[in-house]
Amino acid sequence: MGLGRYLLRRLALSVLVVLGVTFLVFVAAQVVPSDPAALYAGPRPTADQIEKARAELHLDAPLPQRFAAFAAAMATGDFGVSYKSRRPIAQDLRAYLPATLELATVSTLLALLIGIPAGAFAAARRGGWLDRAGGLASIAAVAMPTFFLAMLLQAFFAQGIGILPLSGRLSREIALSAPLDPVTGFTLIDSLIAGRLDVFRDALAHLILPALTLAAYPAGIAMRLTRSAMIEILGRRHILAARALGLSRARILFGHALPNAVGPSLTVLGLSFAYALTGAVLVEIIFAWPGLGRYVSEAVLSKDFPVIAASTFVVTLCYVAMNLILDLVQALVDPRVAL
């Protein structure tokens, strides 16, 4: 069907989905009982300050007109101002989104690095001690509540033996003595760009606990999915043929079986990234990680709709973009899928 047409169709679908989500948020804004004017007028506004705010936000304009303005704002990326903090949302998103994306990426990588090899080895030595232990660990990881795991990790590694920082994204010394100027917003990358290895090490240390907490659930899923996929693959004839040709166990496992498991692993990658994007709310609160999750949960509790709308829009964009990329990678990796 040609790469171009496939891309076009998927893009059209994605736009449709994003529009749907934006509309859903806008509807929620109307349905949920809230008085944006009071929120916008400041912490303890007087009655007339609220009236002034209502006019300023032209809340009394007819619904379709407001949706048009709302959709236009989303499209142009000028998300306007938060009702609560009156700060331009785009500015906050530029600070918070990379933090969440960084955490989501690292935790997803961690989930894959732990889950997939473990699943592969468990499948290779099915019934062996690794398979049973791995099976139990994966179920435990899936069942473990994130907020509880976060507390345990914090108590043990940070407060207990103190080898890892308790919270935050960078140590305060760096922010005080020589702050890192954000280029991409990803501290790991920025520190490398600035060539500051101390900052890189510090950022990495701050990432470990939250990323590990966030990676537990997807790692469990990754392991279970990879294990079942590999078991099926290892039973196939071409694996038997490869063994008959005298190839070594490791070469067969990683060279022949694992490439076939790329498909299921990609779905796991998609799932754990999506989970990290939205599941991070709890982890961000406990580890004081200045990410989108915390920013949005506060906005939801105080019904700060521009922030909710903008963040949801951005998260949905990431989600849809990631799905698109995953499908493309899947097609490229698996030659049988003709685009």
Partner: protein, 274 residues
């Protein structure tokens, strides 16, 4: 073959834990050592008692016995876990069936709608719904179910697509059996099998999401015992008074574990080895 044999050792233990949780939830007033404290009555005199013989898991900031609170908490967590999955199935299944069976515009429309709900960040949608509906158990359950049904719609659709091509379906069609009858009599039972296994596997994560909601203060109203809220309340006193968070946290973990293992055991017995 008896049920326990069918489920294997791990499955039986998991089933035992689930049954125990159900019994605890149903007969909480008679089982818990301090029923009134479990329901919420404060008892300031022995505030923050460490674990002892009378209070196996110590007491909370209002002196209430943690064991009783956890037993009463089972009511909320169990009901929310099961109801979320049930409501999600009740919504997702029909959508998936119709989309898969009808195909064409129906399929495209329903599936795009499902995508919208799937694209919408799950916990955010749940928190938004809970904020909109206000706190309370039923609202929290609806809020989480809203983000959960799309998964079941997808699974149901995949099953229907696979089954629609089956000869016995075409045969029924040839004999003039009406579409709805085919759907309900032939396709639904076959689709239910993998879905029920998935549902059993999902009760654990469902009650975790519900307890995450109450962790954010959007679950049941105090003083009703709720594991998520108890872990949150205990967090401030962690680690000095570790038992305040440990008891409910462990309870959530055990119940979720039990359901997952049970789901797995059911899946294995179904022949698809996951």
């Amino acid at each position: 073959m008896s049920l326990t044999a069918r489920l294997g050792p791990k499955g039986t233990i998991a089933l035992a834990i689930v049954v125990l949780a159900v019994v605890l939830a149903l007969f909480a007033p008679w089982i818990s050592p301090f029923p009134d404290q479990g329901a919420g009555a404060p008892n300031i005199a022995d505030k923050f008692q460490p674990p002892s013989l009378t209070h196996l898991f110590g007491t909370d900031h209002l002196g209430r016995d943690m064991v009783s609170r956890v037993i009463y908490g089972a009511r909320v967590s169990l009901t929310s876990g099961l109801l979320i999955v049930f409501v999600a199935l009740a919504v997702g299944l029909p959508v998936g069936l119709i989309a898969g069976y009808a195909g064409g515009w129906w399929d495209e429309g329903l599936m795009r709608m499902t995508d919208v709900f799937l694209a919408f960040p799950a916990l955010l949608l749940a928190v938004l719904m809970a904020a909109a509906l206000g706190p309370g158990l039923i609202n929290a359950i609806l809020a989480v179910a809203v983000t959960w049904w799309p998964w079941y719609a997808r699974i149901a659709r995949a099953e229907v697509l696979a089954l629609r091509g089956q000869p016995y379906v075409e045969a029924a069609r040839l004999m003039g059996v009406s579409h709805p009858r085919i759907l309900i009599r032939h396709i639904l039972p076959a689709a239910l099998r993998p879905l029920s296994v998935q549902a059993a596997l999902d009760v654990g994560p469902a009650l975790l999401t519900a307890s995450a909601l109450s962790f954010l203060g959007l679950g049941v109203l105090p003083p009703t015992a709720d594991w998520g809220q108890m872990v949150d309340a205990g967090r401030k006193f962690f680690p000095e008074r570790w038992w305040y968070s440990a008891a409910p946290g462990l309870a959530v973990f055990l119940l979720a574990l039990a359901f997952s293992v049970l789901g797995d055991a059911l899946r294995d017995r179904e022949g698809e080895d996951a």
